[in-house]
Symmetry: C2
Subunit: 153 residues, 2 copies
DNA sequence: GTTTTATAGTTGTATATACAAATGTATCGT
DNA sequence: ACGATACATTTGTATATACAACTATAAAAC
């Protein structure tokens, strides 16, 4: 299914427009699929992301700004994401003793357990799309996307 | 800037994960930029999309389900999008005389004027990213994205 | 040491999105 | 014609996101 099929466009678009729509739409498809994976666990994509970042800390807590910094969507509201995770006992939150402006967020055992349970499903989700492409094509796709978005301005 | 730089990852990821993150993040960058373009006009991306679809009707009205069908994000709430556009006098909304279940939405002169004003800025937005790639690379990127998301399952 | 400036995080508000339930209208089978 | 079913759209509710204003703490300037 081409992007023209998706939006029922009768006219053929030029390459710049097609690329943008293809990226937007592909992200949409990916996100929908991933939400399905997460749904049984009552996690949003961004909440999952925060948990993953916290696990990556290897036992050390992360400040709000560190979490923010490592997320894809830089603008989302970390405080409220952590609030949600706190309600589910997936994280703990404490004022940093050295610098009382900072907050230390850590993942709990329960949070780690959920991630462990999710791991194989996440890998399945990640790989199923890539199976359509060869390794060389995947590398090329990565290169092209990075080149595309890194415009100098 | 590689995707690892973006999320401050110290470990190198495998290709499937990198591709997914690259697509998600690139979409993010695109959307942020496009929102900036639209901001002075008090339009959201989806609202703009609806207007564009209506202009594409060449004077004919479009039903809600037609609009829905042509949008990228199939799940968004068309009624409320049209509500917002109605408040700004960019569209009209009438019950379809032949089938009273249906709604006929049309773009107004004012709506067309806004699109006309936006057109060059949208084209600028679309082309500026593509300038990093050759025509061949753009075509390849389109192909790879379509191949990637069209998994059989 | 007190004022200014910078940093870290939270809260308010408006809007957007997801998803299910509800409403109103048309169509089909008998 | 009548009930069942399908279709088109709207509404309710919960959650997510965007963005600005606010609070609290720390560091720097003088």
């Amino acid at each position: 299914m081409t992007i023209e099929d998706v939006i029922k466009s009768t006219v053929k678009m030029d390459n710049p427009k097609r690329v943008i729509l293809n990226i937007m739409y592909t992200q949409n498809v990916l996100q929908d699929k991933f939400n399905e994976v997460l749904k049984p666990y009552d996690l949003s994509g961004e909440q999952y992301n925060v948990l993953r970042i916290l696990r990556g800390q290897k036992g050390n807590p992360a400040n709000m700004c560190v979490i923010q910094d490592r997320m894809l969507a830089k603008t989302s509201n970390t405080t409220r994401l952590v609030d949600k995770l706190l309600l589910k006992d997936f994280v703990t939150r404490n004022v940093c003793p050295n610098n009382r402006r900072k907050i230390e967020v850590s993942i709990t055992e329960k949070g780690l357990d959920v991630l462990t349970e999710l791991d194989p499903k996440v890998i399945e989700h990640e790989t199923v799309f890539s199976e359509n492409l060869t390794t060389e094509e995947l590398e090329l796709l990565n290169e092209l996307l990075e080149k595309f978005r890194n415009q100098k301005n």
